[in-house]
């Protein structure tokens, strides 16, 4: 089913938490492990606009629908960061733009070279590369939904669960966009399928891997995708990815969990 970008832009809002009693965290604070996961999620959400840079270095930015989607997508993700930062703030964990800047500066050369590598690859393979990005984006957004829903399930706190569910609902629309784009573009081009399969199989890693310390990635993946239930969620993401044209049999999420040493 085609994704209606006009409808999406007309209804895109920043996630709302005014009606939620976040003050209850003063009385019922979240455990430290959960705060650590939330901090990771907030950083990743704030970083979304930087992923846009990678999307934009390919021919996709010439398309009006894509631009419209990305504008709203960026803003929704930014507000997910703000929502999580508010929860963290109540726990005394300050998420400050200047501090995030300092963390980003620490990323160093790998991150600096990324846009160059992406652009060169984008130039080489042209519009087929957009399909790769869309498949990649779909995998990331599926992961995000699964992570938020899983955390809502794990936490016994009803207010946090509600906030995370609201965020996950917005992520669901992002999934719809990326999958509809990926499906169409992959279906049209065998070359795009080969490229996307190669890129996902060899380079995909859980969202945030390129911007967070490995210890944090291991913590978050262990928290949200560890154990039998966590694995079940991971397999569902893999099944969804494998459902895209040319991606049959890929198990990139499970593979990455195994690589990180996250127990099943």
């Amino acid at each position: 089913m085609a994704f209606d970008v006009d409808k999406y832009t007309a209804t895109s809002v920043s996630v709302n938490w005014d009606d939620l009693d976040l003050e209850r965290f003063h009385e019922h604070p979240l455990p430290e492990g959960s705060l650590r996961t939330l901090r990771y999620m907030a950083d990743v959400e704030y970083h979304t606009v930087c992923y846009t840079r990678d999307l934009l270095t390919t021919p996709s930015h010439k398309e009006a629908d894509m631009s419209a989607f990305m504008t709203m997508w960026n803003r929704e993700e930014f507000w997910h960061g703000e929502a999580l930062a508010t929860v963290l703030g109540i726990h005394g964990i300050v998420v400050d733009f200047d501090e995030i800047k300092a963390d980003r500066l620490k990323l160093g050369w790998k991150d600096k070279l990324d846009p160059i590598k992406q652009s060169i690859a984008g130039k080489l393979v042209g519009t087929d590369f957009v399909a790769v990005h869309m498949a990649w984006g779909a995998a990331n957004e599926w992961s995000a939904i699964t992570a938020y829903n899983r955390m809502a399930e794990l936490e016994e706190d009803p207010v946090l669960a509600e906030l995370l569910k609201r965020i996950a609902r917005q992520e669901a629309r992002h999934v719809a966009f990326y999958t509809s784009q990926a499906r169409d573009r992959l279906a049209k081009s065998r070359k795009a399928q080969v490229l996307a399969r190669f890129a996902l199989k060899n380079f995909w890693a859980p969202v945030g891997s390129s911007i967070m310390e490995r210890t944090e990635v291991v913590h978050v993946m262990g928290h949200l995708m560890g154990g039998p239930e966590g694995r079940k969620g991971a397999r569902k993401i893999d099944a969804a990815i494998a459902g895209l044209p040319g991606m049959e049999g890929l198990t990139i999420v499970e593979d990455s969990l195994n690589k990180l040493g996250v127990a099943a």
Partner: protein, 284 residues
């Protein structure tokens, strides 16, 4: 990752913008972002008081410039500018607001029986040797950005400021030329939204130019050769010529360009040579 000990009585992310009180509050800006304007636009009035062809052309061109945020973001984010979380947070809301400014201009076009700006045919871009460097793609931008490092942020915010001055001149000219109350009202809404973009770029540009001589020298070089307004490089040659003559062509227009040149010259680290170079290009 730091887990700082904030004041537990602070309810909103204590981090906000804690530095100087005069600092533009990016979080407050994001919280009060202005979206869809269609309900407040006086679109019905165009049925009895339509815009001239010239005004419509200016509206279409401005809509295309306003909606060019993703191209602009690409050029900015492949450099060190993406490291500055405060700037990227601003740009997220800035792009959102500009999306809806472009939509308001599209609504004006539609109310005048025209197609939306990105649906209408557009001529071919201007090909000039001098401009070729501005046409450089993300790969070259990323590589030079690597060498230039953090001072490039100063270039980006100063260009943003000068661009705001230029588009402001265009909206003012369009408002006078069209003498149409419904369009004036739309322009006033748009300028209201843009006022905060100007405030951000103004504050950031002045601070960075004053703080870092390398930012100032990179900015001198960049302003001198830049194509104005930002995004014009991707637009049709004939539309650019129209815009240059419509906004800056007459004696009054030249005075407008000279005024922008003077304001550029007055920025820290700039001088009349840079100001004149910007002004000259406006009515190329």
């Amino acid at each position: 990752m730091t887990f700082a000990n904030g004041d537990s009585t602070t309810h909103f992310p204590a981090g906000s913008d804690r530095a100087s009180p005069a600092r533009f509050d990016v979080r407050a800006f994001a919280r009060s972002a202005q979206g869809n304007h269609r309900e407040t636009l006086r679109l019905d009035e165009f049925a009895t008081d339509p815009l001239s062809g010239e005004s419509l052309r200016a509206v279409r061109y401005l809509a295309r410039l306003e909606s060019g945020t993703m191209e602009q973001l690409r050029n900015l984010l492949v450099t060190a500018t993406h490291k500055d979380a405060r700037i990227t947070a601003f740009l997220v809301t800035w792009a959102f607001e500009k999306f809806w400014i472009a939509d308001a201009l599209d609504a004006v076009l539609e109310a005048n029986g025209q197609r939306k700006s990105h649906e209408a045919a557009e001529g071919s871009t201007r090909r000039s040797r001098i401009e070729s460097v501005e046409r450089r793609g993300p790969i070259r931008r990323a590589i030079t950005g690597l060498i230039q490092g953090v001072p490039i942020i100063g270039v980006h915010v100063t260009s943003g400021l000068v661009d705001e001055w230029i588009t402001r001149a265009a909206y003012d000219r369009l408002e006078t030329a069209s003498a149409n109350p419904a369009l004036s009202s739309a322009i006033s809404t748009i300028l209201g939204v843009k006022a905060r973009h100007v405030a951000f770029f103004d504050h950031e540009a002045r601070e960075r130019l004053a703080d870092d001589p390398r930012a100032a020298s990179l900015t001198r070089r960049s302003l001198e050769r830049q194509v104005w307004p930002i995004g014009a490089i991707d637009r049709a040659d004939d539309d650019r010529s129209f815009f240059e003559s419509f906004v800056f062509g007459s004696d009054e227009g030249r005075a407008r360009a000279a005024d922008i040149g003077r304001r550029v010259a007055e920025l820290t680290g700039m001088d009349s040579r840079i100001g004149d170079a910007v002004a000259r290009k406006l009515h190329a």
